[in-house]
Subunit: 283 residues, 2 copies
């Protein structure tokens, strides 16, 4: 595996935002990712939190808009952000809509014909951790947590539930909590996975949590804006909460009055999420 | 004067980012501005800090990228951000370069022919404060401070020095400290103000501070990234510091090792600046 090439470095809160590109095996294309290294990374190995972004985002959005670097610097934790799909493959129709194709990988492994490169699940759970471990001695990839927003909030939940023990903790902002039941998810799953609903269940957090057999000691934190325009039609966090409760998986779903779906909402509560993960990563 | 029309509202840190548009007399066009109202504004009048942005920015950049809302919410201070020039006037050549014309008003009153609408000085020092006072009872416009970045950092210094007592305190990130002596400033001043150098001195902070006769009890805070690619050719904060020292105006110029000219640099130190102003505004 060829190592990543650094394409940008900017100092912030005593640490560095560093952006890299490399040729991904899983995705079959060049892709970019960004790491925020906290100041502590210059002295010792630091734990990491993977951030999974929402529809239309690249690896950069969370680093530009969320302010996550301030609490991450304070807590001595690195933040890893990756792109939300393959890019530049020129698959027919890949950019026809903003909620499917490019920028909309849904953190799954597609099985349907022309979307064969949409292997975001393998990329995030296997290739990227291996690449980080092989190339960044500052990072302790054995201490990892995961969080994200919207499509990426759902990605964080599914990757956590499908890989018991791989992540110390999970949290989400406004996750698409039950994609099999909503328009965004139905469009993505039917195109990427075909019509067999059992294939959908393997990537639906509300289905997955029902059969989750991993550690249940760490609560899953979910923040959801009460004024989020996508709440009723697309997100449905209550479905996930009910299924988790029935399965004995602790979930703290906080409905935040007056907040919408934007990075302004994320910025407001990102410190709470970093602290949530810090507790699990530093224990 | 017709009142401003709200065009967006988003909750953040318990307060609200609200964006407005109105027909500006000073600029002769419709323009936008944004106010972050801290949570305290729902209970009492709050002081304000004007933020003046740099080249190419609109009123939105600082609210999206700097994280200023967190300390402003904590301190109970409103942040006012405005556009950086008139827009939509279709003046010949107004968008030919990124460092002149649209997005590059330099917070002065232009005197030269086709740039007659570039009256950013009057807009920021007169029209906007009057509009805020008339339309927002939550704001105590008599308690105001001013800060900004690059072109806007220089704007903050000049508006503070030209209006003794109007602003309780001033600070700047990477200001263009002596525009008469650098390429960005020479291009802007010669086009907006003509060739008479005495007209330039009336908008050059390093010239203005030499003759400043206002209050000298409050230190001016300046942060400058040591790795800022514009430092040597365009910014020259040492010129301002030397002139201020000779005039007995206290300046705290902090050279920040490894930081560049970006919003990552601003984000890192914005809390320090809000606290600097809070001290002056709450005393």
């Amino acid at each position: 595996m060829e190592g990543p090439q650094q394409i940008a470095s900017t100092k912030m809160f005593g640490g560095y935002n560093k952006r890299y590109k490399f040729q991904s095996r899983a995705l079959g294309c060049e892709t970019t990712f960004t790491i925020f290294f906290p100041p502590a990374a210059s002295e010792k190995k630091v734990p990491i939190i993977y951030w999974l972004s929402g529809l239309t985002c690249t690896d950069e959005n969370v680093f530009i808009k969320s302010g996550v670097q301030r609490p991450a610097a304070d807590q001595g934790i690195a933040i890893i952000g990756m792109d939300t799909s393959p890019r530049g493959l020129n698959v027919e129709g890949e950019s026809d809509s903003w909620d499917f194709g490019v920028g909309a990988g849904f953190y799954l492994n597609a099985t349907q014909g022309k979307w064969k490169n949409w292997q975001m699940y393998d990329y995030v759970t296997k290739e990227l951790p291996e690449l980080l471990k092989a190339n960044f001695s500052e990072l302790d990839t054995s201490r990892a947590s995961i969080f994200g927003h919207s499509m990426g909030g759902h990605g964080a939940l599914t990757l956590y539930l499908k890989n018991p023990g791989a992540y110390k903790s999970a949290s989400a902002f406004a996750p698409i909590s039950n994609p099999s039941a909503v328009p965004w998810g139905k469009k993505a799953f039917s195109n990427y996975l075909g019509d067999d609903k059992s294939a959908w269940e393997a990537y639906d957090a509300t289905c997955l949590v029902k059969n989750y057999q991993g550690p249940k000691s760490v609560e899953i934190l979910i923040d959801q804006g009460e004024a989020d325009g996508f709440l009723k039609e697309q997100l449905q966090p209550e479905n996930f909460k009910k299924a988790a409760e029935a399965a004995g998986v602790p979930v703290n779903l906080r409905i935040q009055s007056g907040y919408d779906h934007s990075y302004y909402f994320i910025s407001t509560f990102i410190e709470d999420h970093v602290m949530h993960h810090a507790k699990a990563l530093h224990s």
